[in-house]
Amino acid sequence: GALGLVRGAGVVVSPPPNPQSGLPGGGDVAVPHGAPCPQWPYCRKRCSYCNFNKYVVPVVDEAAVGSCLVREARTLLRLSRVQSVTSVFFGGGTPSLASPGTVAAVLEAIAGAAHLPADAEVTLEANPSSASPQRLQGFRAAGVNRLSIGVQSLDDAELRLLGREHTAAEARGAVEAARGLFPGRTSIDLIFGLPGQSRDAWSRGLEAALGLCDDHLSLYQLTLERGTALAAQVFGGNLPTPPQDLVADMYHIACAALLSAGFRHYEVSNFARKGALSTHNLSYWRAEQYIGVGPGAHGRFVPWGEGGCRREARVQTLEPDAWMREVQSRGHGTRRRTVLSPLEQLEEVLALGLRTDEGVPHERWGRFSPHLSLEAVFGAPGEAAELQQQGWLVLDGGGLRCRREGLALLDSLLPGLLCQLQRGWARAAAAAHGDGTPGRISTGDGGEAAPGIAGAVSGGSGE
């Protein structure tokens, strides 16, 4: 990730339940929450595996980009009527390339447009090569209270293969500096399943990372994205394809190692101990509101301020110069708005929630679907029951969630569960009034509620 409230930048707006609200969708209070995710779209160098929306330019007009981020954050927060911000995430690009002053300005704008509690999580993605102690200090002074460092590997050869511009030693230095400044709130990213990487090499890397890390780790299996240099080398036969079974072994080895080091495996790729979970990223998996700010940033929120009453999927203009022109002329650079139907919202609740160890609790489901319970959809004979019997899934008093074994296979579970959801939805709709939506859900703003829920602002692609 990079500086800037770009991709994934956003305000997460998490709607606390409010039993008094008579509003459809489970009723949230008069204080909408949001999570802004500001994106900094620029990088110094293109990594060989990365297909994010990012730009490598000789000179960045930081003042202009910064003022546009400020302006767009204000505009979108106003549109969303978010009153309280639960978290802010600066993603990218490489947001640690931005100056602390820019980060401070964006945070001030957010605090000016909505309530930003002093203890709200404010994360910045940092690359080891732009994470000197001085810079990190500056970011802390600007209001950042959590750091996510793109270490990726602690082996120089692997770092070269990934096209990273830092060495393992630099990464160590950055992590140590960050831990000093953000104790208990420093996260590191690692990638496994590289072409040619052995089981032993991964075990060694993992051991080294455990010796270095703080209380949060993200372990990502390498995804060979089309259009990247690394994928071209593998598909062209110049690098070996990582064998499926070996990569699975690496994942299971890592899960076991982290578990015994006291970490909670709280999401497919994320591990935390001492409660150091990423509040901001949890808001994605809990299908809360978030506001994307910056080029290519994505958001999910109800634009109450524009008269909207349903959750929308929003994407900001990708290309930074075009995005800036739009922000300058109309206050924001929203390129695409898609209203999410109640069923689509439920599909997201399901597909995202099951990535976490808490799964989809009844309460959350009920907020999005007051008339068709989790039990009604997945308790009947069908896909979920079969998967439960096979030991991949659990539906109980807590809700629907994956067992440990099932989590690693989630993408094989989801298509069947989505089929079952779609069938259940259609059945309920037919029973209710034969027109397409079950019960009163037709007003359909799922979890969001009235104007005034809190939110999270994030920038960047998540951790």
Binding site: R7, G8, G10, C37, F52, N53, Y220, Q221, L222, T223, Q244, D245, V247, A248, D249, Y251, H252, V268, S269, N281, Y284, W285, Y290, G292, G296, A297, H298, G299, R300, A313, V315, T338, E344, E347, E348, A351, L352, R355, E386, Q390, W392, L407, A408, L409, L410, D411, S412, L413, L414, P415, G416, L418, C419, Q422, S458, S461, G462, E463
Partner: protein, 660 residues
């Protein structure tokens, strides 16, 4: 084009929906297809011909027979030009091949006829050329055409010499006791060796060397001589106009405006508009609306007389009313019917299903219309759990199947799924219960799903063919090995000259149906030729091989196979299937089984990790789109037990089987 190339192309077509070669922009109520389009106006605007000036003595009815590519259609074009039947231009290529598929492939599928007028030594002759199909699959049509003839022109390529089909066609004509005029074509080619070919003809067919006519149909060299030989050597038909009407139906087509157009040869009497006629086969009565000759388009005449060949339109609504081989006579003047033909016997069966079940009715109507003009295709309704409702079609051979499929695509814009072809096996039942159920002791099995268990069968029978192979001698060794591998028994081996050998083998039909011809061609660098004829049934050690996924049989992959071949075929299918089925949550055993005995096994391991690593704010939209597509795809999966198989997996497996 080799059969191999065609087979590959055919399977390729199965998989990809394609644009129609010719956009069908006609309104739906108009007939479609080239045959139908060329005809509508032929009966208007022309003066009716008086055919009484052609008495029996001045009529010759003949066919041209040849191995594929030896120049049959080119010779026909020249004969039509010389006699002024068609204008002489550079564009006359395969004039009698009207179907798009015929012109594209350079083959004749549907026999056409043409009446030629020719003055020789002061006498006006009527020469009826009855064209014949040029492929082994259509030998049934050849014999049907020959029954209306008194002689044939046997065309042999001066370079290639006698080929397998030359032999087969010669015997068809010889057994029908027809006069045979051997013609050596393509003498203009650089490598032409007419002398060698004349010697082959003498050796194999016992025809003196000096009776052969050397021509170049392409350049027109000596083609007049051929016409003169037709008049001199082929006898006029033996019949009398004074006799009662006796007309043989030797072909029929369907015209959407006028109903059935029956091609007839008059073996006695005369026929004209207004006559009341009766079909000896159906006993149905009709009134004649129109008679005429084919030039090659329909040309109405006042009458047709004994010995002549032409067409009749008499209000028949369905092609089945004009049964090939049927005899027509005048109402209240019955005659002894002519010996009819054996009806076409399908050699290859395959299931045909719409790619999408919503297309069922469209496909049904396309099939109905196409079979109107191709009565040799048999159609039975069928259904498969995996493929839905469809049909089981019987074809004369694999090429026939391909051509039929191609016509469906070209003329009706239909894309279909064809299952693996199978031959018609038989079983002699021993179980009284089954005999009662079927109402007979010997049943024909055209669908492996209906293969009766060994316990209730006293004997299984498989169809056989007598195959003729003509090859340069250097390939004999390889060809003999190939034939043995195909369970064939050698019946004859003759040197037809110093370099060429003719082999005769009795083959089980299923061994040659899919890829024998391709293999033969490739191991002989294209030089060996092959033809076959029906040779009845023989007892065979047949078994049904099931393919199991985690113990559950896959109905559409069940195969009837000879016991000796089961092991290799089973192993092959399992291996292919392993590549075609995606990994799932559990291990999948892919097995080939005979009864309860497993003869081959592959294991598809379970997924151990399948979850995308990153799913944050910016990834969600893309992720959901993919998941929903997978959910949609899941609905289309064929479920066998708990194993999910993509619908195209079986076709992919079968396709590669033909590619091996």
């Amino acid at each position: 084009m080799t059969l191999a190339g065609r087979t590959a192309a055919w399977w390729a077509r199965l998989r990809s929906p394609r644009l129609p070669a010719t956009p069908l922009c006609l309104p739906p109520w108009l007939p479609t297809g080239p045959a139908a389009c060329e005809r509508p106006y032929s009966s208007h605007g022309k003066e009716k011909l008086d055919m009484s000036t052609y008495p029996v003595e001045s009529i010759r009815n003949f066919s041209i027979i040849a191995h594929v590519d030896h120049g049959k259609s080119t010779l026909a074009d020249r004969l039509l030009e010389i006699t002024g039947t068609i204008a002489k231009t550079d564009h006359n290529k395969q004039v009698l091949d009207k179907l798009q598929v015929e012109r594209e492939r350079g083959i004749t599928v549907k026999a056409q006829s043409a009446s030629l007028f020719y003055n020789y030594e002061g006498v006006n002759y009527l020469l009826n050329l009855i064209d014949t199909p040029g492929h082994v699959d259509f030998s049934y049509e050849v014999s049907r055409s020959l029954s209306a003839c008194q002689g044939v022109i046997l065309v042999v390529d001066a370079n290639e010499g006698i080929q397998a089909q030359t032999v087969a066609n010669f015997y068809l004509a010889f057994e029908a006791q027809l006069a045979i005029i051997p013609v050596i074509n393509k003498i203009d080619l650089k490598n032409a060796d007419p002398e060698r070919v004349e010697k082959q003809i003498e050796k194999l067919f016992d025809i003196p060397v000096d009776e052969c006519v050397r021509i170049s149909a392409k350049k027109g060299t000596n083609v007049e001589t051929v016409l003169q030989k037709v008049i001199e050597k082929i006898p006029p038909p033996q019949c009398n106009t004074a006799d009662p009407l006796k007309a043989l139906v030797f072909d029929s087509t369907f015209d959407h405006y006028r109903g059935v157009v029956a091609n007839i040869a008059l073996f006695g009497g005369e026929i004209q508009k207004g006559h009341k006629i009766v079909s000896a086969h159906t006993k149905k009565r009709y009134e004649v609306n129109e008679v005429g000759i084919l030039t090659p388009n329909e040309q109405p005449t006042h009458k047709l007389y004994a010995g002549q060949v032409g067409y009749v339109i008499a209000g028949m609504k369905e092609v089945t009313e004009a049964q090939i081989g049927d005899t027509l006579f005048l109402y209240k003047q019955p005659v002894e019917p002519l010996p009819g033909f054996k009806s076409a016997k399908p050699m290859v069966f395959a299931g045909m299903y719409p790619v999408d079940q919503t297309e069922y009715n469209n496909l049904k109507s396309a099939l109905e219309r196409l079979t109107l003009n191709d009565s040799s295709v048999t159609v039975h309704r069928d259904s498969s759990l995996a493929l839905g409702a469809g049909w089981r079609l019987g074809f004369l051979g694999l090429l026939h199947m391909e051509v039929f499929n191609q016509r469906l695509e070209q003329e009706y814009n239909m894309s279909v799924i064809l299952t693996a072809p199978t031959v018609p096996y038989k079983a002699v039942l021993s179980s009284a219960k089954l005999i009662k159920e079927y109402g007979k002791a010997e049943i024909t099995i055209i669908n492996p799903a209906q293969f009766p268990d060994k316990l209730s069968v006293s004997e299984y029978l498989e169809p056989t063919v007598l195959g003729t192979i003509v090859t340069p001698q250097e390939y004999i060794g390889k060809i003999i090995v190939l034939c043995q591998d195909r369970r064939a028994v050698q019946k004859d081996m003759v040197y037809i000259d110093e370099h060429r050998v003719m082999l005769k083998y009795l083959f089980p039909l299923n061994e040659i149906v899919v890829d024998f011809y391709d293999t033969l061609k490739s191991l002989s660098s294209g030089y060996a030729s092959f033809d076959y004829e029906d040779a009845g049934y023989q007892a065979a050690d047949l078994i049904k091989m099931d393919i199991l996924l985690n113990g559950n049989p896959v109905e559409e992959l069940a195969t009837i196979i000879h016991k000796d071949k089961a092991y290799a075929a089973g192993k092959f299918l399992c291996e292919r299937l392993k590549d075609a089925i995606p990994r799932q949550l559990f291990e999948i055993a892919i097995q080939a089984a005979i009864g309860k005995k497993i003869i081959a096994r592959e294991t598809l391991k379970a997924y151990r990790k399948n979850v995308v690593a990153k799913c944050y704010g910016g990834d969600i939209t893309r992720r959901m789109k993919l998941l929903k597509r997978q959910a949609e795809g899941k609905k289309l999966m064929r479920k066998i037990g708990n194993v999910e198989v993509p619908r195209d997996a079986f076709i992919r497996v079968l396709k590669r089987q033909t590619d091996k």
